[in-house]
Point group: C2
Chain length 212, copies 2
């Protein structure tokens, strides 16, 4: 049964799941969401796919899941991979997935949206400065944690890495200068060397009007 | 063995865990963090308690846990309560805990901080307006979900409720008008009727300078 992932290329939250699907070489296909024209906030989307009005939505037969952290956890149960090798590691993976949703992707995703996908008159310099400060605090925590480590948890790649890395692979400028974070830079390179890795735009259809 | 929770009264993330400890009638005590003088961001705090520089930190003997969602999950394993009654419910609980960390508490906590615990000249009206818009979107999702439901997941109180409710119990103004959300209002009343419920300031020591 082919898994369907309702998603769009610009969504780092979708990319977290797409990476797990790709690394696990599962049978899946992306279903594009017309995000920039409000496609994830219609009444039909909320009633049929996700009341939270968010991407991604994962469909496997009768099973429908949302929230990237839940889907990653489900895929770990299904494949036995990326969830941590014992209860302590599993808790540590969840810890970083929660931190990412709260402190890293929450800032990076919104900043990237504000800086690249909004018209200039709708951007607030004060909001961008505020979120940039918070993102840099998060990057500093991650940089310190990765000093001397290959992976966020344990000895191999886990959902903690898939969750935290996602927005950092996009090339559009949003205040993250990869060269300023040596440990994060090497860690991203390590992830991109995994068999099956692709850039988000090569895994999912773009939604931004006019994008290739 | 008495559980120690490093926390402070103004921290809604700490309150989520304190509520679970109180509802489960566990042997625990709060250890105050001097948050407003930077107590959670010192080198010692980061090295000894939490590299993320956040509250709460849960200590039970040799076990140290951070991130409220991880601690709530651990307490559910320990007590058999609040984690959902089957795998579908467990995933649904995790879904709302993640959503709360990303979309609800992330906004509500920061807004409450900006509006009440910062000097006026440090507040940005544009930042407050931006975060308020995002918080109201989240409140609307929760209000719709609770329409016709007593609890966020299943037939009883779970970690989803403990996580999502936390900042909504504080009285300081931060843009949440409880009377405008009838379903949330009744749900909060339902939580406050649970045996052991207390206001955050009655469970944890306050950190704001000059607070009683």
């Amino acid at each position: 049964m082919t898994i369907k992932l309702h998603c769009f290329g610009e969504s780092g939250h979708s990319y977290k799941v797409a990476l797990s699907l790709a690394f696990n070489n599962l049978d899946w296909e992306p279903v594009g969401i017309d995000f920039f024209r409000g496609g994830s906030r219609t009444d039909a989307y909320r009633s049929d796919l996700n009341e939270m009005g968010e991407a991604p939505v994962f469909i496997e037969g009768d099973l429908k899941l949302t929230q990237s952290g839940v889907i990653l956890d489900y895929l770990s149960e299904k494949t036995g991979r990326f969830g941590g090798s014992d209860p302590d590691e599993r808790r540590e993976v969840l810890r970083w997935v929660l931190w990412d949703n709260h402190k890293m992707s929450a800032q990076a995703g919104v900043l990237r949206f504000l800086a690249n996908f909004l018209t200039e008159e709708k951007r607030s310099a004060e909001v961008i400065a505020f979120l940039t400060g918070r993102m840099k605090s998060a990057l500093s925590v991650l940089e310190t944690h990765l000093n001397g480590r290959d992976w966020i948890v344990g000895q191999g790649i886990t959902n903690a890495d898939l969750s935290c890395c996602s927005y950092l692979f996009y090339n559009e400028p949003f205040g993250f200068d990869r060269s300023a974070y040596a440990c994060i830079d090497r860690w991203l390179a390590r992830i991109a060397e995994q068999p099956g890795w692709k850039h988000p735009y090569d895994l999912m259809p773009r939604a931004f009007p006019g994008a290739a």
